[in-house]
Amino acid sequence: MRISIFITCLGNMLYPDLGVTMAKIFSQLGHTVDYPDNQACCGQISFNSGYTEDTRAIARNLIDAFEDSEVVVAPSGSCIGMIHHNYPSLFENDPVYLKKATDLIHKSYEFSQFLVNVLKQPDLGARYKAKVTYHPSCHATRLMGIRDEPLTLLEHIQGIEVVPLPEAQLCCGFGGTFAIKMPVISEAMVQEKAQHVIDSGADILTGLDMGCLMNISGYLEKHGHPVPAMHIIQLLGKGM
């Protein structure tokens, strides 16, 4: 299979190791990996702020970048959720791009979903000894319906103990521009989430979306309770 990496803007700029590990995993499983370098961002930041016209331009750029791809995989439930949940309405009056967007929807996946449901290869032979807790990010679960896939991946990492995160369903307060536009509410939300992470007793916080993880761990660090946050891909990367 020829797999195109959609690194996402956050992944590209802040967490490039996500892409490196993804590429290595897919290659190891015998697939060809490519990276269309015209890609930039799914447009969620402007979309959620109401700037639909700006979002369309960004979305068209992304759609074009992956036009020739066979499958597209991203290290984020949120960005894939943006494509699946919002692109159809974004292009409802543009038949050309609606068609292209629909094609992209049919061939794009979040990483854990792709590995577990499409490739059906949850066991990568990874070993990593740690007690982790998993934060189910809102868009991965609610927009993409991803619930068991990441847990399946974690189960197959030898040495990992998964401890439950209390009130896991609560949003961490990131919400893209929400954290900046409504800082006091966002802070109250991340404060509670951080407390739940501490209460879980885990050494590492893991999840599918770097935005949420960056938010929670950024709060924990600033307040002197550093529980490192690692994307599931990073856990796999360390363990392989």
Binding site: I7, N12, M13, L14, Y15, P16, L18, G19, V20, A23, K24, S27, G30, V33, Y35, D37, Q39, A40, C41, G43, I45, S46, F47, N48, S49, G50, Y51, T52, D54, A57, I58, N61, C138, H139, R142, L143, Q169, L170, C171, G175, G176, A179, I180, K181, M182, P183, V184, I185, S186, E187, A188, M189, V190, Q191, E192, M214, G218, Y219, E221, K222
Partner: protein
């Protein structure tokens, strides 16, 4: 009363966030309701099927509202009731005032009605010299406290037993212990006398059955039943979309409502009554008025983007899952309807973004509300839609517009973006301490107030890819040779 002071968002948020009790109480109450709801929903088997049925019924009503309204009005009038169509809240208030004047009535007993909050009825009647008695315990508590309800189902969610005892004491004239039996007994005793003396009763309406003219009202205290049977003159307030076609659909909707609101299979009292009293009836009002409020619901109906919000059955389940409501409670929104549904409908009912434009930002777009909604209103999508409309109608700041124009430029020009990121990676050291970004210019400063930020690495994935690609190609080749 707080209502007279203009709303200040920052002040309201600060007040709410400093109120540890409010936040703890809200968390505790919403958690309890949420868990109860999940249990009650699971008991039904396929909850999703029920939600779909609910959505369908509500859509059927809304898309044919003219038909069902006409049918309802005809049946109510046939039964001998008086219908008042109120285009605006003022019209509704006027209709009620006229009824009071006609009977020269000075006492009102009320059971819970969000419409009466929406039209701000109590202060007007009180000014007219009417004694207004809220008979729902929660409403009674917030009435004494001179506060608006903080939750549409649990109006006094933000008060604990000690605070309630303190509120009751001046009325009782002696000290009260703060145990629940004492407090409810006090309120009950107080209420009983009022029930018997109330000249006019006002109650809300959960659903009006179009083909019979029946009103369905759910309560857990039985007060609704007292209000709807004792006074000779009665007024029912309803939003014009709160209709079900027949009893067949009512069964589905009551199931969805009770389970979603409080996690009950049925509310303790589900009152179905078809006033006014007819010959042979043992109770019920001799004169009955149904006030049907539009208040821009027609506008919403004509607006395909937001029409789905009219499906709402006011169960409050979106409040109970909302992580924002959980932190700030209901009053900080500044609107009669708080929570996710309040964010969506307030700017529409008031047709005013200037005053209510802050509401659409009281959401992290986490989607918990839409997931919980028993009639599948895509609440978080509608919240984004409001933001969209604010942008389109020029009600967001010029700076924000510029910021998103820049975002658009950079994120459609990946090569330029790359240079920009490299520049950032070189310059960021001025904001860093111990390997973390700890300070920065606005709007980043808002983030950094409570969190650190990971610094930009020297190389983006764009930079790493060419070498990675070569390595992967080599491995692939070797693998091919081995085969």
């Amino acid at each position: 009363m707080s209502e007279n002071k203009p709303y200040d968002m920052q002040e309201a948020l600060d007040k709410a966030l400093k109120d540890d009790f409010l936040r703890m109480a809200t968390r505790r109450a919403t958690d309890k309701l949420r868990h109860q709801k999940l249990d009650a929903a699971n008991q039904l088997g396929d909850w999703e099927e029920w939600r779909e049925a609910g959505e369908k019924i509500r859509n059927q009503v809304i898309l044919n509202l003219d038909y069902y309204l006409k049918q309802l009005i005809e049946n109510v009038e046939k039964n001998g009731g008086h219908v008042h169509l109120a285009k605006t809240p003022q019209d509704a208030v006027n209709a009620v005032q006229e009824i009071f004047q006609k009977h020269n009535a000075k006492t009102l007993i009320k059971s819970k009605s969000m419409i009466s909050e929406e039209i701000h009825l109590n202060p007007v009647l009180e000014k007219d010299g009417v004694e207004v008695i809220e008979t729902d315990l929660g409403e009674y508590i917030v009435q004494i406290a001179h506060e608006p309800p903080s939750h549409i189902i649990v109006p006094a969610m933000h008060k604990n037993r000690d605070q309630i005892a303190k509120l009751f004491e001046p009325i009782a004239g002696h000290s009260l212990t703060s145990d629940t039996p004492t407090l409810t007994k006090f309120a009950r005793g107080k209420m009983r006398k009022k029930f018997l003396n109330g000249e006019i009763g006002i109650s809300g309406c959960n659903f009006a059955v179009a083909d019979t003219g029946t009103i369905a009202m759910v309560t857990n205290e039985g007060n609704g039943r007292m209000v709807s049977t004792l006074p000779k003159v009665q007024i029912t307030l309803m939003g014009m979309e709160r209709i079900v076609p027949s009893f067949k659909e009512l069964g589905v909707m009551l199931n969805l409502l009770a389970r979603s609101a409080t996690g009950q299979r049925l509310s303790a009292y589900t009152t179905l009554y078809t006033p006014p009293r007819r010959e042979g009836d043992v109770d019920g009002p001799e004169e009955w008025h149904l006030v049907i409020l539009d208040h821009n619901r027609s506008e919403i109906l004509g607006d395909p983007d937001f029409r789905a919000s009219l499906r709402c059955i006011r169960c409050g389940s979106c409040f109970n899952v909302c992580p924002v409501y959980r932190q700030i409670g209901g009053h900080a929104y500044g609107s009669v309807y708080a929570g996710p549904i309040g964010i969506v409908i307030t700017p529409l009912l008031e047709q005013d973004y200037e005053k209510w434009g802050h509401l659409p930002y009281f959401s992290s777009i986490c989607g918990a509300c839409a997931e919980a909604c028993p009639v599948r209103i895509p609440l978080h999508d509608l919240i984004v839609k409001h933001r969209d409309r604010k942008v389109l109608t020029g009600q967001t700041s010029a700076i924000e517009h510029q910021a998103f124009r820049a975002y658009r430029y950079y994120f459609t020009h990946p090569k330029v973006l790359r240079h920009f990121v490299h520049w950032g990676a070189r310059m960021q050291f001025v904001f860093m301490r111990r390997g973390r970004i700890v300070m920065g210019p606005p709007p980043l400063a808002n983030w950094l107030k409570s969190r650190y930020l990971t610094p930009l690495p020297r190389q983006t994935f764009d930079d790493l890819w060419p070498m990675l690609e070569r390595r992967l190609k080599k491995i692939e080749l070797q693998r091919g040779e081995q085969k």
